[in-house]
Structures are given as structure tokens and as C-alpha cells.
Amino acid sequence: MSKVESMRKSITGGKDWKSRALSVGFALMQAEWVAMIGLFARADFGRMNPEWMFNFGADIVGISFCCVMYYGCKSGGEDERLTPQLFAANLSINSFALFLDACGWFVQGIPELRVWNRIVNVLYYLCGLALPYLFWLFVHSMLRLNQQFVRRTNRLFQIVLIPFSLLCLANLFVPIYFSVDEQGVYRRQPTFPISYGYSLIMIIIVLVGMVRSHAPRRQLCVVATFIAIPALNAFLTFGTFGISTQYIATLISILLIYSVLFAEQSKMLTATETELGMAAAIQTNMLPNSFPAFPSRDEFEIYATMEPAKEVGGDFYDFFMVDEDHLAMVVADVSGKGVPAALFSMIAKTMLKMKAQEKLSPEETFAEVNASLCENNEEEMFVTVWLGVLELSTGELTYADAGHERLLLYQNGTWSVLPKAGGIALAALSPEELALVSDAAKCHNRTIRLRPGDAIFQYTDGVTEAVRADQSFFGEKRLLAAANSAPSAKPKELLPHIRGCIDAFVQGAEQNDDITMLALRLNAQGKGRRGFRAGAAKDGA
């Protein structure tokens, strides 16, 4: 019996433990904020010095800022340089320090809470150690420093962190930085300036980093403020006791960094959006989209729409005259979405048109296009296609489908679904692989004869897989019902009606796939001449 090993992985559409950790951090920060308001409501202000109350207020405002920025970075994009986790950690520590600061003032001078006073202040000093380190981790990528320097400074930080952390923790038992007396009053000790040692080391490292950096000046300035603002604060409040604004000062620096990075990111986003918008316009213009498409021919009506779920889509339709008597129609769906799918769809569309115009049958067209698409298809994309060629003089429709949806046919006043017969998506199998597949599974030409008044409807899975909040699909049955409930089989009326039925079904749920529809109605069997009159059909019928 062999060993059985188990492993579990969860994929929730991009949401991993990192984003969950971010959410937890956000919840904690909100809890801090609520707790602060609670403290604020219960505080005995009569007992407090005015400057304590000022600190208290500043801390609440500070945490509010942290919450807002945290939310911004949580919902922001995945910018490599922004490293949301690190930034969030910075904010978390900063807001926690503000929270501790408020707690510290709250317990100051209350004899029963003197143990808490001690714990709160030790934690407060620990935050003072963690924050510069986190800041450094965040800043060195921004300064674009070389890896060796970063590794060395990181190690230096880690080594320095150990004695200073121990010193901090020692304050729980021996007064080094501060003492809390019997009355619960916190006082600084003469040895307090030792705690500045760490900040000094950190400032030196950042300064050296800045000198060696090749980052743009604006980013250097931002980094400099992280030293300058707290240093200025320390200078101004040096030797005084009662105003604790150092974490408000660091928060201002974080805010600055955030604004600068946010501005850069949004600049890049705007550029991307503009390009995407242009791509979408190009794509729309590549599909025949002026209707009526053939004003001079009234023996048939054709109408088609494509609505991408993202800016650009992987779906496409096409129709064109192969010659005077033959109309070719294409509906296709490329695997995936967005720009890669859109590029592949343009290639497929061009190839299909080229081959169909050589008057190859749909089956032959598919074989040729499949072979071409398989060359250099490193991304393993594929496309499901329905291709039909209608002989207008006889109403004979020859079509083949490469893994596409079933065709809907309107005859004798009702819509029905035509059966499926084999067909493998294009670019799914190379010609050599295809040779091994059974004949029944391959794409084959099928022929039906349309009479005047008959119509066909072809679509992509965005229609049948339009999904409602309760996870149910629109489906083929509902599609058929929608088609049959349409006021007429005229394409221009049918398509909006079906679209309306889909909208009514999804009840406002977000569109998650491209929706493409194409309908054709034969008004009369013409002779394939221009200027053929619909009235003549009556004689012919």
C-alpha cells in the first residue's frame, strides 16, 4: 500500500491569504478607532491636562487618516512598487502606536491602572522600533538601491533591533526609559535618550541609502521628509513632556508617500485606460457595424451586436459577400477575455475572411484556418466558430461549426434549435492531432434550405451563460423562449428583444462574458442581382 498524501489548495478568483490578511488588518484598525471613541466617551477630562486632551484628539484624527489610507491601499491595484502589504503594515503599526498613545494618556495618573500604564508604554516603544524598520523595507524599493546594500542594511537593522527590543521589554521590570510610580504616573528616566539611539542609526542608514540612490528627485524628497518631519518634531518637543506628536509626524510622511505613489499610479492607469479605449474602438470598427449593412439588397436582412464584458472582448462576428450570390456569416468566441483574447480574435477573423473569400466551403475554411492558427500558438488559445455561407438565389445555407453553440432556426413561425454534429474548436488541435480524431467528431458541412420569411440566429456563450445572482444561467431553453416571444423574426427587432430578456433575467448582475448575437432573415429568394425587389418573391413563392 503506497503512502497517501493530501494537499488542499483554494482558488477564489485572485483572492488569496494576502488580501484576506489585508481585510483582517482593516477590521482591526476600525476596531481601534471604535475603541478610541469609547475611551474618549469615558475619559475623565477634568483630571487631564489640556495637552493630554490635545494628544487624545490628534490620535483619533490620526487613526481616521490611517483607516482612509488603508482602505485606499487595500482596494488599490496590484502595483509592484506599492507593495500594499508593506504599506498596510506601516499604517497598522502607526495607527496602533497612536492608539497606544491615547491609551497611555488615558491611564496616566490612575493608580489602579499602573500595570497597564507600563504595558502600554512598552508596546508604544516597541512600535517605535518596528515602524522605522517597516519604513525602510518600503523605502528601499522606492530608492531603487542595489540588492547587496539592501541585504546588508536589512541585516544591520535586524541586529540592532534585538538589543533595543530587549531594552524596551526590560522596562516592564526595571525603569530604563521610564518609570511608573505608585500613583500611576509615567515619568521619563535620565537614561531615556538611549531610545534615540535606534532612530539615529535608522536616520544614518536612510541618508546613506539616499546618497547612493538613483531614484527621481521627487521620490528622494518624499523619503527625506520621513526623516525631516519626525526629526523636526523631536527637536521642537525635545526636553518637554506632555505632547506626544511623533506618530502624527510619521503619519504625515506616510501620507505624503501615499499621495506621491498614488498620483504616479493613477497617471499610469489613465494611460492604460486611454490605450484600452483605443483598442476597444479599433475592435468595434473592425466588425461590420453600420446597419442596414447592404442597403441595395432587400432580399435579406442581417443584424449583429457584440458587447464585450471588459473594454475589449474575445468575441466577434463578421459577415460579407463572397460574391454576388453568396453571403458569409461568422460568429466566434476566443477562450479567455481582455486584450490577449481580442488580439487572437482579430487574427482569427482576418484568416476566416481570407479563406472564405477564396470560396472554400466552411469545412475547408476551418481546416485551413486551424492549421494557420496552430502555428506559433504558444498561449494555447483557441476559438469556437460558427461559419455559414448562404446562397441567396436558392436559400441554401451551408454551415459548419467548430465547437460553437447550436444554431437557432425560424421556420413556420417558430424558433427551434438545430442539432449539433461534431466540431472541434479551431486551434485546439494541430492538423496532425486532428488526423487521429474520429471522423464524427470533426467539423462537417451541413446544409439547410431557408425559405422566404425564415430566419437564423447565432450567438456566443455570453448569452446562454449570462448568470444571475443565484448562480443560475440564462440557458438555451430561456433563449429559445425569448426568441419565440419576440414580436417578429426581423433581426433588428429580435436582437434587442433577446438582449432585453437577458437583462430581465440577470436582474442587474454584472456581465461576466462577451455577449454576441447575429440574426439573418431571408425576405425573398433572389437571383443574386442588385436591386432585386421583395415583391418579386410573391410570384416566385
Binding site: 503506497s2 489548495k9 482558488i11 494555447e380 466540431g423 485546439a428 461576466n512
Partner: protein
Amino acid sequence: MLNIDLVKQGNEGELMMVGELSVNTAPGAEKIMLETVNRFDRVILNMERLTYVSSAGLRALKRANIQMRRKGGTLALKNVTKPVMEVLELTGFAVLFKII
């Protein structure tokens, strides 16, 4: 939402897929499938509780299958549900895989 469990028995790995193989879950699923294909000579994708597969999901399956064929092993689909089988048949992908 998609959960994937790997059960290993000797040189055969079975991936139990629970949920939907959609455009959102396909990249993650593909990574796991390729990792599994690289580790085992025979991989079974148990689709008993896979309720939906999109075209992006088919592509992930296809890539895993190609990788498997390159190294000369077998990739099989097991207990395929009706909605997934319909998609496999509609797109013609059913012929690509060994379905047990």
C-alpha cells in the same frame, strides 16, 4: 470559487476539483494542474463536484493535457458532471481527453 485537493498514491495523482473552473479560477487551477502533471506520470482530474467550466477553464485543461503528453504520461477526467460534459462536447474538447 474553486477548491482543489490532491490525493497522491504512488506515481498517480488525483486532483479533486470542487466548484467552478471559470475565467477567475483558471489561472490558479492551471498552475496547480501543471505542478501535479510535472510530479506524476498519471494524473486524474476528478470532476465529480465541478459544476462549471468556461473557455478559459478549457484552455487550462488543454495546457495541462499538452504538458502531460509531452512527458508521455496520461491525464484523465473522471466523473465529469453533466454541465461540464456538455461544454466539453459542444466545443469538441471531449475528444482531447481520456474520460473515465
